[in-house]
Symmetry: C2
Subunit: 153 residues, 2 copies
């Protein structure tokens, strides 16, 4: 069991482990393959990470980005840290969104930000996006895990 801010994360949601970070599948991904890189330590801000932790987060995002971009047949990536409540951070635990992107994923490709902001203006069918089931998250995590060499704590 891991912590993502106040939330419990089960082992089945973790597809990537490095020394200081974890890769998690998402309860409500805004696009297929939208995953999170979080620090193992529960701290709210990027500035709270040691140099080793911040480094690990970037290298983890780089590795994870390469895999999800390819596996979800995408051609670009959006990586975002909402670092603090005034930046839209809702879980007070440093996390980087890694979002595979492709042509036509939104009417205007930058409309993804409406999704990130929870505005759902564009894909109306997503307006009541439901949390995914444990099973669905486990399946995605199981698919992604073999791409990475995990380091246990």
């Amino acid at each position: 069991m891991y912590q993502f801010g106040p939330h419990k994360i089960t082992e089945s949601q973790v597809f990537f482990k490095s020394k200081y970070c974890l890769g998690l599948v998402n309860l409500k991904p805004i696009t297929p393959g939208h995953v999170l890189v979080i620090s193992r330590r529960v701290v709210p801000r990027l500035r709270d990470l040691s140099a080793e932790e911040a480094t690990d987060m970037m290298l983890s995002a780089q590795k994870i980005g390469n895999v999800v971009e390819k596996e979800y047949q995408c051609t670009s990536l959006t990586t975002v840290i909402q670092d603090g409540p005034q930046a839209g951070q809702t879980v007070p635990h440093v996390h980087m969104h890694v979002i595979p992107r492709k042509i036509g994923d939104w009417a205007n490709n930058d409309d993804i930000y409406d999704e990130l902001a929870g505005k759902n203006k564009i894909r109306v069918d997503n307006e009541e996006r439901l949390p995914r089931s444990e099973q669905e998250m486990k399946e995605e995590s199981d698919m992604l895990r073999p791409f990475f060499t995990s380091i246990e704590e």
Copy 2:
């Protein structure tokens, strides 16, 4: 003289230098203190950076974020890499946006993404946001530079 993709960057726009990265002030910042961290090498994608370069980018962003958040009286940061054209990247050279944030900077704080996407829906007065003058950029860069210990190439 430095390169940001196809664009020439003058020394006066550079306020931060590390071994592999540069910190630049912005021609059209979407908020005061919105700056860029770019790799010194002109490569388009995050995956093109070596581990040393990616690490340096993250640690540079962390240092720069701490300074701009404080100096522009902010309380959060948005950091974004638009990694590839389908993610809205317009200059084919890896760069991380570091954007200081505070309460009320946009009507809805997540409306910053409309600005990032160049939609300017919210702050109508910004609809024809003009490029800043060389002088204005130089002044901001001169203000920020003393906060950092620069490493020359």
